[in-house]
Symmetry: C2
Subunit: 225 residues, 2 copies
């Protein structure tokens, strides 16, 4: 608990009122869960009204505003929660990368984590994607997480390349196209019946191959892949 203390407190002061009773903690939790549920049904954030939300959460309009500063505050909270997990997995990925496993396993593990995390909370991810197009705060938080992830990867993979001068650029581009491809899947594969759907496992293999092929072509690697 203590490592989170400071950021958690800031979140509360900025967007949510700290709860004093279990009752209100419960309301908070129900509203968060309701939002995730509604977003997962494919609705955009702007199409989600407070009235809908509190109906789904078995709460009232006033209860909502008692907990959250305004409508946006809730989406901020949702993003921060999602990204807290993301940051944790970024750290884990970096540690894995430093463990000395062969490169192809590392890349596969990293891509698998990315694909898996996109499988969860697709609705929220889509809503955030939209919001980032417009809102600087949401976008900058995403950029911050990307930076952390890339930095972890650079550190972890440094042992596998002979010259590290291009490593940061290559990781950056690879990161972009992996997450970009996932965004595309997020947007286009969901409701549209196009017959182009790719299973997660195959998508992971294909993106892993793309990353490895790109790395081989662009960097002087140590050892076989």
């Amino acid at each position: 608990m203590s490592p989170k203390r400071r950021s958690k407190a800031r979140v509360e002061l900025e967007w949510v009122k700290p709860a004093q009773q279990d009752r209100s903690r419960d309301t908070h939790a129900r509203i968060v869960a309701a939002a995730e549920r509604l977003l997962s049904r494919g609705r955009a954030w702007s199409e989600l009204t407070i009235a809908d939300l509190v109906a789904e959460a078995n709460a009232s309009v006033g209860a909502f505003y008692n907990r959250f500063r305004d409508k946006d505050a809730l989406l901020h909270v949702l993003q921060l929660e999602l990204y807290a997990q993301g940051a944790a997995t970024a750290v884990a990925a970096a540690e894995l990368a430093a463990s000395g496993a062969p490169l192809d396993e590392l890349v596969r593990a990293f891509v698998a984590v990315a694909v898996g995390s996109y499988r969860e909370q697709r609705g929220l991810r889509r809503a955030l994607l939209v919001e980032m197009c417009t809102n600087t705060v949401f976008r900058e938080r995403a950029i911050e997480l990307s930076k952390q992830t890339c930095a972890g990867l650079v550190a972890g993979l440094a042992a596998h390349v002979k010259a590290t001068d291009r490593l940061a650029t290559v990781i950056d581009v690879a990161h972009r196209f992996v997450y970009g491809a996932l965004d595309q899947v997020l947007l286009y594969d969901d409701q549209a019946p196009t017959g182009r759907k790719i299973a997660d496992a195959q998508l992971t293999e294909e993106l892993t191959a793309a990353c490895l092929g790109y790395l081989e072509r662009s960097l002087p690697l140590r050892g076989p892949t």
Copy 2:
């Protein structure tokens, strides 16, 4: 003109009233140009009011509704215009691919076209990206264009591979990650001062390398790359 006749007429009936005089054609053009200008300043479609729009276009609210069925109609028109160019370049790309140039040149040319087309009309592209998250019609139009592009690439590149059974999948994934990466650049690189900007030329090289590396790893190719 005759090859476009039918679709143009459908567009007009559905979203715009056919103009009878030069005056109204002019108004139409001014409104379209104003929308592109405002979007290119980073504003989202939902943040763009009719009042703003007609002020920028030197027109009036009534003039707008005289030409366009409603606000959405304008965005439909903008997407259709953008995609008409896209479809044309898809055809051109397929022809180039069939011309027998070496694979790496083909891929580089294709990526360069994609990167270049994203350089133009970034505002409109971003607005459409948002809209696609929500609106099925916008999304399906995008999927249709992707399919055409992929089909052209498959046909054009078939001569370069020894076995074509996986070609469609590989092209599909490559297409996704190229355009996904471009979407990422579109979203994140623009206003955020992160120092991660990559010049178009380098981005083209990196994505070309990624595509070629992926193709080499995943397909039995003919000849050197």
